[in-house]
């Protein structure tokens, strides 16, 4: 037909614009009403509308699978790693996810979404996914992120979670210290003599150093998710009390390891060869004069702990008290081989406090 026009030409554009604007204004009013007047019911008892749970949970699973990319260390099956992870789990996670062989608490089960029991949840994820979940947490679910920026101390928890599915209550109690469950001794052992090579022994440290370390953990000056959790509940009085509660190192029996690595470490620690590395002994002993009690003794400390800490120092990621700068300067030129030798040397020494004759006189 001669006068036929394309249908779209017959739309009245100003009317459409007015309709869209009206809808936008209505939407804005609705949003203000929901947010500002509280029309949406946030009650956990009411729960989600049908289908919403499925959408949220699928989003969550796929989001984790897409992002989990951390490479697990070779030590995931190490019993010390598993025990350290169990200790942290007991402190920070058990209240929601339950313990092996026990049900979840009534309060935990009343959460929305309900935190799964750990023995059901852990086997569903790979090690990298568990690492991501613990590190990042999950938005709007009650699952917190790791309370530190450092990430390597998440792996002990992953190591524990990989074993948790088949664990019974007795095995878990063994790992978490039985009666001393929850306190310092759970991980650091009776009188601070930790038998777990992943956990430092405290009996060789001065009260000054222990107090400074606990304050640094609590205040975020030293980076560790595990110790941040442990120290976050302590006030200054509690720190002062705990710092004095670890005794002198007891007599140590048995042959101490020796060998070329230990000899190399001894040379490095005493002589600063090649004028490159500061002599460790001038601060950490053995030293013929009284040392500042704020310096930690490392004689007899666990080798794997010393290695991990020296690497953190060298890489500039180890915080601490007001003297941390000294150690940043001292460690910055250490090669991996130097670190291995120094850790072997100090681990092979008899455990002694910083000023052996003065330990029993707290200041």
């Amino acid at each position: 037909m001669k006068h036929a026009r394309h249908p779209i030409r017959r739309l009245h554009w100003p009317s459409i614009a007015i309709a869209i604007a009206a809808l936008a204004v209505a939407g804005l009013f609705a949003a203000v009403a929901v947010v500002g007047l509280g029309l949406y019911n946030v009650s956990a008892r009411v729960g989600h509308l049908p289908g919403i749970s499925w959408v949220l949970h699928s989003t969550f699973r796929h989001s984790v699978a897409l992002r989990a990319d951390a490479r697990p260390p070779a030590t995931l099956d190490d019993p010390g790693m598993i025990a350290l992870g169990a200790g942290h789990y007991e402190q920070a996670c058990a209240m929601c996810h339950g313990r092996p062989g026990e049900g979840r608490t009534a309060t935990g089960r009343a959460m929305v979404p309900v935190p799964p029991h750990i023995q059901q949840a852990a086997p569903r994820w790979s090690a990298a996914e568990l690492h991501w979940l613990i590190r990042e947490g999950v938005k709007m679910s009650g699952m917190p992120h790791w309370p530190a920026t450092r990430q390597d101390d998440i792996w002990p928890v992953v190591a524990f979670l990989r074993q948790v599915a088949d664990m019974d209550a007795d095995a878990y109690a063994d790992l978490t210290g039985g009666e001393s469950r929850g306190g310092c001794r759970m991980c650091h052992g009776e009188s601070g003599v930790s038998t777990n090579p992943q956990v430092p022994r405290l009996d060789i440290l001065s009260p000054d150093y222990i107090a400074a370390s606990l304050s640094a953990y609590r205040d975020g000056d030293r980076d560790s998710g595990i110790m941040a959790e442990a120290a976050s509940r302590l006030d200054d009085d509690a720190i002062a009390r705990l710092a004095r509660s670890f005794g002198d190192p007891g007599p140590t029996v048995g042959a101490r390891p020796s060998g070329p690595l230990v000899d190399r470490g001894r040379k490095l620690a005493s002589e600063s060869p090649r004028a490159r590395v500061s002599s460790c002994q001038a601060c950490h002993g053995p030293w013929p004069e009284p040392l500042n009690r704020g310096f930690p003794s490392v004689s007899g400390q666990h080798e794997s702990y010393l290695t991990a800490q020296l690497r953190l120092w060298r890489d500039g990621r180890r915080g601490g008290g007001e003297m941390a700068e000294l150690m940043h300067h001292a460690a910055r030129d250490l090669a991996d081989g130097d670190i291995a030798a120094l850790a072997a040397y100090y681990a092979a020494r008899l455990p002694v406090p910083i000023n052996p004759a003065q330990k029993s006189v707290p200041q």
Partner: protein, 324 residues
């Protein structure tokens, strides 16, 4: 304004006098270099006047057509032949001087290592089996040629005491050498002359030329262990020094402190400067330096001891200023 310019230039020339100047030589090598400089300057002035004079002559004084052979002589003679002769003469003169600058030293050898940013100095008298270790200051006997062995730790530096001689680069992994024969006793200043990092400009040194018998006495004194603290406060300072880990990097001979990362402090207070030519050797400067070295020498390897109490810091400074 224009009339003031020459006076301003004169004011700048005043900087050519003094402790760190090629133009006031105090050593044989520096004298040769200063003479060479004046000859070079003379040659350059003659060349400049000649070339510009010819140009002025051809373009302003006689701005007309010149006969062909005269024009060719002006261009070839003034532009090619004359500069070639003058420059070749100066080059020959300079080349003849060079071997002398590398003459082997006799008697004393200094081994100087460039660190970031200070100088490790070892004195090896003839026949010595171990060196007398010092730092951040070079002392030389007047009237004899001392051998100077140079090395560097980490990055390139360059050893230069302008009043005594030329400069020589210090290169990691490679030994370089030079020699110096000072003639006039006195106190001069050296400076790292190769960019070596954040505090390159703060890497200087005092250079002290002494009469030979004074030098011998000084060297013997430097070989001694450190003085025992004389007062209660100094003794307290020694305790602070040994308790705070200073010995991890520094040596004070006669104490357990045997570190080799930083300068040997056995006779620290006998030096005229602190922190490699940057601060005067005074108590307040010692305190400022120990509290925050990075503020004075950015990037310095030494950590700040700002956790020390004022009393401890003061005692430490008193102890150190007793290490003469």
């Amino acid at each position: 304004m224009r009339a003031a310019l020459p006076f301003a230039a004169l004011a700048f020339l005043a900087g050519c006098d003094g402790r760190q100047s090629v133009l006031s030589p105090a050593g044989r090598d520096a004298e040769v270099l200063a003479t060479l400089f004046w000859w070079m300057l003379g040659g350059a002035v003659v060349l400049w006047l000649m070339v510009n004079g010819l140009m002025l002559y051809a373009s302003r004084l006689r701005p007309r057509r010149h006969p062909k052979h005269l024009a060719e002589w002006i261009i070839f003679g003034g532009g090619v032949a004359f500069p070639t002769i003058v420059l070749a003469g100066l080059l020959t003169y300079a080349l003849v001087q060079m071997p002398q600058q590398r003459a082997p030293g006799q008697g004393l050898t200094l081994r100087v290592t460039g660190e970031s940013w200070w100088w490790r100095v070892e004195y090896w008298p003839d026949g010595a089996t171990e060196p007398v270790v010092a730092a951040n200051e070079v002392r030389l006997p007047a009237g004899s040629r001392s051998e100077i062995a140079l090395a560097a730790n980490g990055v390139i530096h360059s050893f230069w005491i302008p009043a005594l001689g030329g400069k020589t680069d210090m290169i990691p992994g490679r030994d370089t050498r030079m020699s110096l024969e000072p003639v006039a006793s006195g106190e001069y200043r050296g400076q790292c002359a190769e960019f070596c990092g954040a505090s390159h400009a703060q890497m200087a040194m005092a250079a002290v030329v002494m009469e030979p018998e004074n030098f011998q006495a000084w060297l013997q004194q430097q070989a001694e262990p450190a003085a025992e603290p004389a007062t209660d406060e100094a003794r307290r300072g020694r305790g602070v020094f040994l308790a705070e880990g200073c010995g991890g990097c520094h040596t004070v001979r006669g104490t357990p402190a045997r570190g080799r990362v930083g300068p040997d402090l056995t006779h620290l207070a006998s030096r005229v400067t602190l922190a490699a030519g940057v601060l005067p050797m005074e108590r307040q400067a010692l305190r400022d330096w120990i509290r925050d070295p990075d503020a004075i020498k950015p990037g310095a390897r030494m950590p700040g001891y700002d956790h020390l109490s004022d009393a401890d810091l003061r005692a430490l400074a008193v102890y150190l200023e007793g290490l003469e």
